[in-house]
């Protein structure tokens, strides 16, 4: 008799309405009981034609659109776009503005990482660290609101400068926040990182090796979690990052293999500490004298013809902005293309979600920390 | 009619109705759930018969164990949302006739036999202790055998049900 074993596979749609797909992502899981045999991500539920929209908008008006890509780290998106345009126009931004950009960028990085490890804990089932961390996120939002006027979508960093000036009071508040944040982070760290159940759930799960990470175009904390020491702030410094003394945390496989979910998680916690270090140094270095609008171009009529690619380190990894300008009278870009880090991180799901359990898919998805606004753009 | 009679009638109706669902319903999952309630009713009957420990055992083993096992078996072996049973008509006729004949014979037997009823006090006495003593006394050998049987069945079921793919590894 022919020897065949057939078990019924069950196709499950995880999403687009699912609590832990972090937005409107759909994963089509082919499962054998609890074991996932195949996992295919389906994208595009949040596609808003960002890149096409840009082709009919003034350069300055594009910045609010970048806010809405990675809505958890809007500052860094603004910044990446501005770097590209400044590179194209040859603008040298004043030191005060650079300092401000570093401060708000790093603050926003912390806020984004809080979401990342908070919701990761939530996916694993730990509710409390998430809310404890959110208290700190609120404080960051208060600071950023005072600086920019908005709580989430800032439109703060402009081409050639920043939108609004800050005063000494704000700097003091930021300093106070830095001091308060460290013990709060330690609390979350203690609650979650070395919890036996948490380690059991995340260590050795969803291992992305060095080679895999590089070949899939991983960047940011995900890449560093796989043991690759690569951070644009160190390796290809932009803005003032050469001035600051900070470390790049790299995953070492402390609880399991290098590149597992736990490594990707702990990298983010450690990066928050490094960000605080940077902010503290920037607060030391900044001087409040000088005009923030000094180098902001009055209009974009004199845009040079050409193309530019600039990249910066956002909380999710390298955001690359490619802009083609026709120059001359047309003050709109001919083409804008964004290389989004979360998109690359998401593409690995299909490979590493084979043969894991449904709960592991959730853990993996949480650990690569995607933002669908950025994936779909 | 005393209240206990009503209890008996309700339980008997439950058991028989559920038994009919088990046999005649086309969806196998309904049969399984009906079987469960039938077991539950039998547990109630045991209580009426002053067998309290037995009723508990019936609930734990049948309702909590065997029914769940059967439900699992159904869910694992059929396309989950398309569960019907097939039967052929000849089987139905022959089987029905035989069963009816059997029922008639049993009924005749029941009502024509002069049962030797021992009339005793109807007072309820807890029986857990007695059952325990009997198991450790006169019935020690069958008890131990049953333990061995359970062990054998457990191991046997695991070996039979094991996924063959894993044997090769």
């Amino acid at each position: 008799m022919e020897h065949k074993i057939e078990t019924d596979f069950m196709i499950i749609n995880m999403g687009p309405q699912h609590p832990s797909t972090h937005g409107v992502l759909r994963l089509e899981l082919k499962t054998d009981g609890e074991i996932v045999m195949a996992c295919r991500p389906f994208l595009g539920y949040l596609h808003r034609c960002f890149e096409k929209h840009c082709e009919s908008l003034d350069y300055l008006k594009i910045i609010p659109f970048t806010d809405r890509m990675d809505y958890l780290a809007s500052m860094n998106n603004n910044w990446a776009f501005c770097i590209a345009i400044e590179k194209l126009m040859g603008i040298k931004v004043s030191e005060k503005c650079e300092y401000l950009r570093v401060i708000v960028g790093e603050l926003n990085r912390i806020a984004s990482h809080i979401i990342a490890f908070g919701t990761f804990g939530l996916d694993i089932g730990a509710f409390t660290p998430f809310l404890l961390a959110f208290i700190q996120r609120e404080k960051i939002f208060d600071l950023l609101e005072e600086a920019s006027g908005a709580r989430m979508l800032y439109n703060y960093i402009w081409v050639g400068g920043v939108a609004r000036d800050v005063d000494g009071d704000w700097l003091k508040k930021t300093k106070k926040f830095c001091q308060e944040f460290k013990p709060a982070l330690d609390e979350v760290d203690e609650l979650l990182s070395l919890n036996k159940i948490f380690v059991e759930r995340t260590a050795n799960v969803g291992v992305v090796t060095k080679e895999m990470a590089i070949s899939y175009g991983f960047t940011g904390p995900n890449l560093r979690g796989s043991g690759v020491n690569w951070d644009l702030r160190k390796n290809e410094p932009y803005s003032l990052y050469t001035k600051f003394d900070f470390n790049i945390p790299v995953g070492a496989g402390e609880q399991g293999q290098v590149g597992d979910c736990w490594d990707r998680y702990i990298i983010r916690i450690r990066e928050c500490r490094e960000s605080i270090k940077i902010i503290e140094q920037a607060l030391e270095g900044i001087s409040l004298e000088g005009d923030i609008y000094e180098t902001v171009p009055k209009n974009f009529n004199k845009m040079p013809k050409g193309e530019v690619y600039a990249r910066s380190e956002t909380p999710r990894g390298e955001m690359g902005i490619y802009v083609v300008s026709e120059g001359g009278k047309a003050p709109v870009p001919y083409r804008v293309k964004v290389r989004s880090p979360a998109f690359c991180s998401l593409s690995i799901l299909e490979e590493i979600c084979k043969g894991v359990m449904i709960s592991d898919v959730i853990a993996i998805l949480g650990s690569v920390d995607i933002v669908l606004g950025e994936v779909d753009r | 009619m005393v209240p206990a009679d009503f209890v008996f009638l309700i339980l008997a109706t439950l058991i028989v109705a559920c038994g009919f669902v088990v046999v005649f319903h086309s969806k196998i999952i309904y049969s399984a759930f009906a079987l469960l309630f039938s077991f539950f009713g039998v547990g109630g009957i045991y209580i009426l018969l002053n067998a309290d420990f037995l009723a508990g055992t019936q609930l734990i083993v049948y309702v909590g164990g065997i029914s769940v096992l059967i439900l699992f078996g159904i869910l694992l072996t059929k396309k989950i949302y398309n569960l019907t049973t097939e039967e052929t008509s000849t089987q139905k006729i022959i089987g029905g006739a035989t069963s009816l004949a059997f029922l008639g014979a049993l009924a005749a037997l029941i009502f024509n036999t002069d049962w030797q009823i021992v009339t005793t006090t109807q007072e309820f006495t807890p029986q857990t202790l007695e059952i325990g003593k009997a198991f450790m006394g006169n019935f020690i050998l069958p008890f131990e055998l049953a333990a061995i049987l359970l062990l054998v069945a457990l191991i046997g079921a695991v070996i039979i049900g094991r996924d063959e793919k894993k044997e090769e590894i």
Binding site: E6 | V2, L106, A107, I131
Partner: protein, 103 residues
Amino acid sequence: MFYNSLEPYLVLSAILFVLGLLAMFTKRNAISILMGVELVLNAACINFVAFSRFVENGISGQLVTIFIIILAASEAAVALAIILHLYRHINSINVDEATQLEG
């Protein structure tokens, strides 16, 4: 009158027994047959307990019933394991399709 006389229990058990028998006769699905067997066993159990209550006034009927329950549990476990195995081989649990003994 019902609950403390023997005959109603015997009638109940007879009906249950016949229903179980019917399931065993007419069903092709192995699990349905297993369910029929369980019904028959339960009918027998009711008989045993009723006799031990009304005829013997002791507990030996209950002891036998406990052994029956033990048997039923192990039987169900083994039977379902076999059914699962069968399903993996012939992708069906109809007993008349399982005509080959080799695996």
